[in-house]
């Protein structure tokens, strides 16, 4: 199996990486080859030890200056398809892009890796690209419109992005029975080529919905119209190509499946496989210390500002409450991290809310909690909540992604950003230890019933086998 990751395993700690680690180690009969696609400059050393049945392929760096070695191609001009950037822009950015022409273009990239830098440096390529781009950025329909502005700087940046799309597609991959792709984005590119050239079937597992998260990221980062248009349309183009090519799609939550169906994935292709966790001994009683714990990165998607405001409200109503937040600041979110510190200061939270930094023992820190809180505006099926359930801790969370189906019956779900709703939930549980204990126990029982590692792994094993069989036939 070829496992294609994007910005996660094995170089970054997080939910997707933990899932990859579980999958590789939990299916020892499967021979895995892991192809990580990463942004240049990120951590060099793997943070996970791959099991014996898995091999890490050289990572594929995008936006990197470390390009593949130059090869002598002889004296001929070579097979330079100067229409390649134009084809890519039409296939990926048009509202109704052509999937077939996209795959043909990506196959060209794989077959002519040495031609790519020449193609993208040719003036004719640039001219054809601009000719193709102009109608794309003026396209208008009932449910979409053109960007408010799109100039030559935006065009040049897009041109460079397409070069890296081509480079990613050009990367050599080992032959595999199944390409298991972990994101419907850049990670699909090598798999699309393998499918076209060798018939390798594709299994797509989405933890978050790629296109949804790209749009959400563009909204909260306040991008320029051109940057926003490129970021969102490109992710949409990649995601739709992934959905069209995937032989099976396995979202981790029904909430993701709803997005995927809405984006045109056939329900017949979709099989929801929940994340699984290790179930330990039945949990002990709540500590009764008024401790509220959260585990997650400090990232705008986690809406830590709402958590801080909730803490302020809770402390006002329940003065002995103490909030402990475990998790590092995400890469590239330093400004957001600073804004959290400033808000913490402004709210006068002092030692009532402590940023504890990373933890290597998330289950241990959850055991210290009377209540576990999560305030994200985007989630799939968060492992931190699953682990809280395994530890028998009641959860107060925002109802995003797969959270409602997860927390239903074992916690409180409120709309995202609802500070008062979150505070009400936390205060109610702190004031009613019996209720908190009952919900915690219900969570544990639900985890035992529906979210075990064995169930998760056997589901993937079955699905991988079925997809591989489909490829052989």
């Amino acid at each position: 199996m070829l496992l294609v990751t994007e910005g996660t395993y094995p170089f970054v700690v997080g939910g997707v990486s933990s899932w990859c680690d579980l999958l590789l180690g939990g299916l020892p009969d499967v021979s895995w080859q892991v192809l990580p696609i990463v942004t240049a400059g990120r951590a060099k050393k793997p943070l996970f030890t791959l099991p014996a049945n898995a091999r890490l392929l050289p990572r594929l760096e995008i936006w990197s200056e470390t390009l593949p070695g130059w090869k002598w191609r002889g004296l001929g001009r070579g097979d330079f398809d100067t229409s390649l950037p134009a084809t890519l822009v039409k296939a990926l950015l048009c509202w109704e892009g052509s999937r077939d022409s996209l795959v043909d273009a990506l196959v060209y990239c794989r077959q002519h890796p040495d031609a790519l830098s020449h193609v993208f440096r040719a003036e004719e390529s640039w001219r054809l690209f601009l000719d193709a781009l102009a109608p794309v950025v003026s396209e208008r329909g009932e449910t979409f419109g053109p960007p408010a502005s799109f100039d030559l700087v935006d065009a040049a940046k897009l041109f460079q992005t397409l070069y890296w799309i081509a480079r990613t597609a050009a990367a050599e991959t080992p032959r595999a029975d199944v390409a298991h792709v972990t994101a419907a984005g850049w990670a699909i590119l090598p798999a699309l080529v393998d499918r076209a050239l060798h018939g390798t079937p594709i299994l797509l597992t989405e933890h978050g919905v790629y296109v949804r998260e790209a749009y959400l990221g563009a909204v909260r980062r306040k991008l320029s119209p051109g940057d926003r248009f490129v970021a969102t349309r490109l992710s949409r183009g990649l995601a739709l190509a992934a959905y069209a090519a995937a032989d099976a799609v396995s979202p981790v939550a029904e909430a993701n499946a709803r997005w995927e169906r809405s984006l045109g994935v056939s329900p017949l292709k979709i099989r929801v496989i929940h994340n699984g966790v290790t179930i330990g001994d039945p949990p002990g009683p709540l500590p009764g210390t008024g401790t509220v714990v959260s585990v997650g990165r400090i990232d705008a998607l986690k809406d830590v500002h709402t958590m801080l405001r909730t803490a302020s409200e809770v402390v006002r109503r329940f003065p002995s409450a103490r909030f402990l937040h475990y998790g590092p600041v995400s890469d590239g979110e330093d400004a957001y991290g600073r804004s959290c510190r400033v808000l913490h200061e402004q709210l006068g939270l002092g030692d009532r809310f402590t940023f504890m930094g990373s933890t290597s023992d998330p289950k241990g820190v959850l055991r210290d909690a009377d209540v576990v809180i999560m305030t994200s505006i985007s989630e799939a099926l968060p492992l931190s909540i699953l682990e809280a359930m395994v530890e028998g801790r009641p959860v107060v969370a925002t109802g995003v992604g797969g959270v409602p189906e997860l927390v239903n019956g074992c916690g409180v779900v409120v709309p995202p950003g609802d500070v008062h709703g979150l505070a009400d939930g936390v205060v109610a549980l702190l004031r009613s230890p019996d209720l908190a204990q009952r919900l915690g126990t219900a969570g544990y029982e639900k985890a035992v019933r529906e979210y075990t590692q064995d169930t998760c792994l056997s589901s993937y094993s079955d699905l991988l086998r079925a997809v591989a069989d489909r490829g052989r036939n």
């Binding site: 009932e142 449910t143 408010a148 040049a156 959400l216 997005w259 109802g399």
Partner: protein, 441 residues
């Protein structure tokens, strides 16, 4: 109440409420229904299908447009610093000051051989390292990544030169001192200047220059080592790739070869005079190059707001071309003022070797250096090497075939190189959008 009573929470959401959520979050009309849907899901509490359905409906309602531009393009900090100018000045100063003691150790012919090694090696490595380690605030971290390669190269270079005899060893040590000075100045300027002062005193105090040079080289390496961080975990700080840096080194080497191609302008006992006339040329090149370093701000500024069909792709009427023109004017202005002074200064100290031909040649050399730096910055290093290489060929051939006055061959060579560089740079400057595109790597 609208028919859009959707939502998982207790409260239903109407189309008006949906529009309010979208507008308050975005402050503008959504780009498409997916953008509206994610806003409604993340901040309106709707489920995916409901968010998508509501979003599709809201797209038909007019909303405020987004601003066309989010603000002016902000200037990025200039990457070159006055410390680079100081490094250059120190190198020239050392040539002037060290000629006499070095000649005492090596003799006239030996000094010439030493400088034949030192000058090309120093210029090549300075270009190589300038490309590999840009002055961007992460200089020390980038240097840390290459510490072993750098040390090994330095030691191997000195060992190889030592095998060739004393003049070559001194040449390698000189090159090492000049290159290390350029790097160490960025990290520990005071220590570096003090070390060079001590070296100069040592050269005058002792008969043999080699131990002083060796100690100074080792001292500069130690200064650099002391400035490095203890560890850098992220490859984010890795230097620019060798694939980019090595051609820059080759370009530096070819620029040095052009300088040394005319043997009538010998770097021998008259090196002080040559250093004096090279000084205005180098200052001009530095000022022009510094001015050109604003190109990466000028290109986006020139293109920002340009429609895709705008006919600006082939025109000199763009800020980038104006910037290049400004750089050229600075070069011409600097050499026009300073070169006569340098020639006059050379005569005052009894050196009469700097002819008018040499002075003009070195003025043109400044143009070549600035143009070469521009072509290297836009990854057209090969074109620059071709232009400079043509100049070398012309200089060597004319020096051998024609009976030219001192500096005449260099003048012919730099003229050809300057013409080549200006032509190549002009072709590039007419198309600022392509300049941006060419930096794809």
């Amino acid at each position: 109440m609208s028919a859009l009573e959707v939502g998982r929470t207790e409260a239903a959401i109407t189309q008006r409420e949906a529009l309010a959520v979208i507008e308050s979050r975005l402050g503008r009309a959504p780009q498409d229904m997916l953008e509206a849907a994610v806003v409604l899901e993340a901040w309106g509490g709707l489920r995916a299908e409901e968010a998508l359905a509501t979003a599709a409906d809201t797209m038909s309602v007019p909303m405020p447009s987004a601003p066309a531009n989010d603000g002016p393009v902000e200037d990025e900090p200039v990457t070159r610093t006055p410390i680079d100018a100081l490094a250059m000045l120190l190198c020239f100063l050392t040539v002037v000051l060290w000629t006499e003691p070095l000649q005492r150790t090596l003799g006239g012919a030996g000094l010439m051989r030493a400088l034949d090694v030192a000058v090309p090696a120093a210029i090549a490595f300075q270009w190589l390292f300038a490309a590999r380690f840009p002055t961007d605030g992460f200089f020390r971290q980038r240097l840390f990544f290459d510490r072993r390669v750098l040390l090994t190269t330095a030691l191997a270079g000195v060992a190889a030169a030592a095998a060739g005899g004393t003049p070559y060893l001194v040449g390698a040590e000189l090159a090492g001192v000049w290159v290390a000075t350029a790097l160490a100045l960025r990290a520990r300027p005071v220590c570096t200047v003090l070390l060079l002062g001590a070296l100069t005193a040592g050269l005058y105090r002792f008969e043999d220059a080699r131990p002083s040079l060796g100690l100074a080289f080792a001292g500069l390496i130690a200064v650099l080592a002391s400035a490095l961080p203890r560890g850098v975990s992220s490859t984010l700080y890795r230097g620019r790739p060798w694939r980019v840096a090595l051609p820059a080194g080759v370009l530096g080497l070819s620029l040095a070869a052009l300088l040394l191609s005319d043997r009538s302008v010998a770097l021998d006992a008259h090196a002080r005079a040559l250093a004096l006339v090279l000084l205005p040329s180098s200052l001009a090149a530095f000022w022009g190059g510094w001015h050109m370093s604003a190109i990466w701000n000028a290109i986006p500024r020139a293109l920002r707001g340009s429609a895709l069909e705008a006919p600006v792709h082939r025109s000199f009427r763009n800020p980038v071309a104006s910037l290049a023109g400004g750089a050229l004017l600075r070069v011409v202005g600097t050499v026009s003022v300073l070169m006569p002074l340098a020639v006059f200064g050379g005569r005052l100290i009894g050196e009469h070797t700097a002819t008018a031909a040499t002075a003009v040649a070195l003025s043109l050399y400044a143009v070549v250096a600035v143009g070469a730096a521009l072509l290297d910055a836009i990854e057209r290093t090969r074109l620059a090497v071709i232009a400079v290489g043509s100049g070398i060929v012309v200089s060597v051939v004319s020096g051998r075939v024609l009976d030219l006055a001192a500096g005449g061959a260099l003048l012919a060579g730099t003229l050809v190189a300057a013409i080549g560089i200006v032509v190549f740079a002009s072709l590039c400057l007419r198309r600022p959008a392509l300049l941006l595109v060419w930096t794809i790597g």
